[in-house]
Symmetry: C2
Subunit: 407 residues, 2 copies
């Protein structure tokens, strides 16, 4: 698979996170020549928070994480790539339990402190023997770097996705590092992929959960590649506390706000990397909706536009086909008035008050559409609700990847 | 554009409908060498019923028809192809009024007895001079055949779509003929295309409306090509009464039931023809959902499957990827239990009770997927709700048509 044309030039330099020890190993879930099991070990006292798919058919990993999240503490994370273990019945549940037990036994932790996520084909039980051998191999290695971990959690991704933030909290340097994988079955009914954030900040689980949920709303829940929501979507944040900052116990605490902002910013960067690696993507599209009756309504209208095959193919064709944007607004099922609607591509207003802007300058629109980063602005003229959603265009590449794939 | 591989071998022989006089003419809405204006004249006393798009941004034609439908009578229908006149503000409204006035003046009818539908590019006001010249030309010709009319209402369609039914009502032969056009921006928030049914039956408007709404639910509202709902969707039925049957005044009348069944059957045939001409379609997919908590819930689950790009590309690739069907059930937002779910392709059960059927015979599944008509069956195991929805696969053809199109 060719590297996405929207990929960053290189993987960033990511710092170590105190209290986190990451390793990768080759479990061999598929016949490929790469590491496909990632193991992260956390120091005792690590807080955890998470958001998982809203799919009614979640994987056993998602169910396991939901239960474990209630306790708020973590000692390890195992990520399997190449097999999602979703829709595998009792055998799938047994595989997750076996993984948690294996790691818990090795590090003298509780199984409920071991988080598990898997990604890949649906319907094939994860082979327990391969998982256990992979865990043993990972335990026997020394730490891997973040790029290796970002590569080991990937499936159809064409580049590794990682980002970091640093800030000072109560005189202590705090680090956040995140890695994520895409890149199909991406729709924002929460996260629709796997993403993990690691920080050495001291944050209690409830506060971490509140900040993560807020960060998710403006990042992983605001992206879509194909409108298809995965059964395995998982976003987890681990806070080891090794930085020694005064522990964040609630959102009102000193330092909570800048930490939450750094977390939200990091999540948005990771989410945009996922869109940049959307299957077949050649352009990144930002849809800004304003003037809706509420932020929620704006979000749904933005998603209707971002998920429309006709809008996405028009952008692929560099076609300023704003009529398709009107169509997508109209079908969203949200309050809208045709004769109040205004639409722009980039900075150029192309439609206003229910019809085309007479004689608008097509040159800047054409130039904007030839770029790799496209902005579609829609003002509904109804209220003050606003939302931004990111997606990519729909190209022959998406069809090739998904019609030629054999399960 | 090549004729769809799913097209019928030929256009059917369609009988004349007493009381209906159809003509076509060249208005020249686009630079093409074909008729693009259709005019149907009805004898006085013709009843009319209709269903229009639920888009919040409907075309002025749709708004005109909605108002005129309240009166229940029709004397003429004008269909313009190549320009939808949608999102054109006051100038678009004036074009519709001018068309109605021109025809009304020529046949001594009320403007509100003239129905108007347009299809094509969004955002360009329909040129009134071309419309008026086209109407005059149509009035000066003699009647066209149904295939000519079906061709004149088409846009990106690759074949003409028509069907007929005959029945006896109170000793009188009754005829129904329908024509329709697709083939992109097809999603079932009613009809998402233009379809017209003509009959010589005597049916009062309210009864006709009730029967048409019911027919629509199982036909045009049960198809999707790309999940994109048009701003111009219009289904109209005209009943001239020339057959001389005892007038159907309500659904309880003698003859109402067989007529309603024939109408529903005709609408379904037309709707399936629209799917068979879905942009880039190579396979017709029937999604049958059973065991839902209600018929409405089954319908929404079926649409979630039928609109999933990953399901549609899997079928294009002849891949029995039932994991993607699980995904689409899971994201539908409807009551579902992973461990009760059963899935089949054709007659072969591939998954049951939340996991794959161990060792199911893959040969009949592969053979079924190589065919042109694919059946996906999903039983949710929750209740007795059921629904059937039709769609087509998602291929490179769809991308080519829609990314290469310039507005």
């Amino acid at each position: 698979m060719n590297r996405s044309p929207l990929a960053p030039a290189r993987f960033p330099d990511l710092p170590a996170v105190a209290g986190v020890d990451v390793r990768t190993a080759r479990a061999g879930y598929k016949a490929w020549d790469r590491d496909d099991l990632t193991l992260a070990l956390f120091r005792p006292g690590t807080s955890v928070a998470g958001v998982t798919t809203r799919s009614a058919c979640p994987s056993p990993e998602v169910e396991w994480c939901r239960k474990a999240l209630v306790l708020g503490t973590a000692r390890a994370l195992v990520v399997n790539a190449g097999n999602s273990n979703a829709f595998t019945g009792q055998r799938g549940r047994e595989a997750v339990e076996a993984i948690a037990a294996r790691v818990a036994g090795a590090i003298e932790a509780l199984p409920s402190d071991v988080f598990v996520a898997s990604t890949g084909v649906i319907g094939v039980p994860l082979p327990i023997d391969k998982a256990e051998a992979g865990i043993d191999a990972a335990l026997a290695t020394s730490g891997a770097d973040w790029q290796a971990a970002a590569a080991a959690i990937a499936t159809t991704d064409t580049f590794e996705k990682g980002a970091s933030r640093r800030l000072s909290m109560g005189g202590h340097d705090v680090t956040l590092v995140g890695i994520a994988k895409g890149s199909g079955m991406i729709a924002p009914d929460m996260a629709t992929m796997l993403a993990f954030v690691f920080t050495d900040a001291a944050v209690l689980p409830d506060a971490l959960q509140a900040m993560l949920s807020r960060a998710n709303a403006g990042s992983f829940s605001a992206i879509t590649v194909d409108g298809d929501t995965s059964t395995s979507d998982t976003l987890l944040a681990f806070a080891t506390g090794a930085a020694g900052n005064p522990t964040i116990e609630s959102l009102d605490d000193n330092g909570a706000e800048p930490f939450a902002a750094a977390l939200a910013d990091l999540c948005r960067e990771l989410a945009l990397l996922v869109v940049r690696d959307g299957e077949g993507a050649s352009k990144l599209i930002e849809v800004q909706v304003t003037g809706a009756v509420s932020d929620g309504s704006a979000h749904r209208v933005a998603l209707s536009i971002a998920n429309s095959p006709l809008v996405k193919t028009a952008i692929a064709g560099e076609d300023a086909n704003w009529g398709r944007v009107v169509m997508a607004v109209g079908k969203a099922g949200e309050p809208a008035e045709r004769d109040l609607l205004a639409i722009r591509f980039g900075a150029t207003q192309v439609a206003r008050e229910g019809s085309a802007v007479a004689g608008y300058d097509e040159a800047p629109v054409a130039a904007h559409l030839k770029g790799q980063e496209i902005e579609i602005g829609v003002d509904l003229g109804m209220g003050s609700g606003r939302a931004t959603v990111w997606t990519c265009d729909l190209t022959h590449g998406y069809i090739s990847i998904n019609a030629d794939y054999r399960s």
